[in-house]
Point group: D2
Chain length 121, copies 4
């Protein structure tokens, strides 16, 4: 991806997030360890929107919740992209690679429709 930034929105977002941190001289706080913690905190703010709901499907949400979920999804991706940047992981390539491993780990014929298999793997 890195050699075709024009075709990659993940690379574009990486550069936007990197510039945001550099402009504020926040690289000093952005160690991989600190970014992993910050990511977990943002994801928990996302989880908080769903904790007392039945399923979180659209009909259970009001506009304030929809906007909050949208913003927490964005903040979570910002920290995920920033952490990947700091540890030199190309997220697109990493997902393509991991999804192949997931296909081997969860063969359709063994796990289709089974959450038990899902959790026991």
């Amino acid at each position: 991806m890195s050699d075709t930034p024009s075709a990659s929105d993940l690379t574009a977002l990486r550069d936007i997030v990197r510039q945001f941190a550099e402009e504020r001289d926040w690289q000093q706080f952005h160690t991989p360890k600190n970014l992993a913690m910050a990511l977990s905190v943002e994801v928990a703010e996302l989880v908080e929107h769903f904790q007392w709901l039945n399923t979180g499907e659209d009909h259970e949400l009001d506009d304030k919740q929809r906007t909050g979920i949208r913003h927490e999804l964005a903040d979570s991706l910002v920290y995920l992209i920033r952490l990947a940047d700091r540890v030199n992981v190309d997220l697109y390539d990493a997902v393509i690679e991991k999804m192949q491993l997931n296909r081997e780990k969860y063969p359709v014929e063994k796990v289709k429709g089974k959450s038990r298999k899902y959790t026991e793997y």
Copy 2:
């Protein structure tokens, strides 16, 4: 992004993850609430790699840890993309929008080099 999938690797990954779930008939388990929980669990597996390290910089890691971090970053993004898909959020647009709010929330002149400001905002 959704109208220009060829230019969007986030959209390409969304489609790969969506197909993976559909082939296994896992949509029934992929409620927004369950996906938010699963995302938080994957992110914790990422955090686990850093919990006893000083900063998590590359020189503190061995190849086994680097691979683990790469895979957990991928799994985290997979669930983040899947959750965004289920709640109809375009992640690229959401991040562009949220980063503008972040620029207003953390003006360079007020927060430059200050983690205290960072945490107190």
Copy 3:
């Protein structure tokens, strides 16, 4: 509690956990920051048991899951007690104090039976 350790199982557990760490010379790794991360990782292992279940009520669990939940609850409490010990917080006193604040924050007449109130507070 601290003045009546014999009547306090939280104090007894604090001493057991403290000794476990000291025997292994792990105090060096047990900074408040690292312990907070470790606690979040253990809690995620607890969450993992419930992520694909409907409610997590007993009839949805098998013995392997019940044992796993019991062990993750224990590990979570171990790190919570260890962190409280490192930051000099008496957990019993802290909960008594916080529950009084919670009573004032969530008056029965305003929040009875309402999850919306619950989440909006």
Copy 4:
């Protein structure tokens, strides 16, 4: 512990937390799954206090942070106790049992002073 409630502050706190929920008719929201999510959210609020700090030792904290950490520790224990109550786990017995397993898993002679062993186990 359950046969000597008067000597158990964990049992006393369990009863206080149980009454708090019953008075508000919140048992309907307190499924094990929802409580596990709520616990993870409270723990993340605790983690948030430490994410940009070096170690979180006392000299890095101000009184506002000390109070915040105290309150988040309390809220985390409240949900941990509530969840244990809902899944019928005696936390004192569970920790005593798990610490014995931990002693066998991390023998002093093998892990003393080693975080690497710690993380690799």
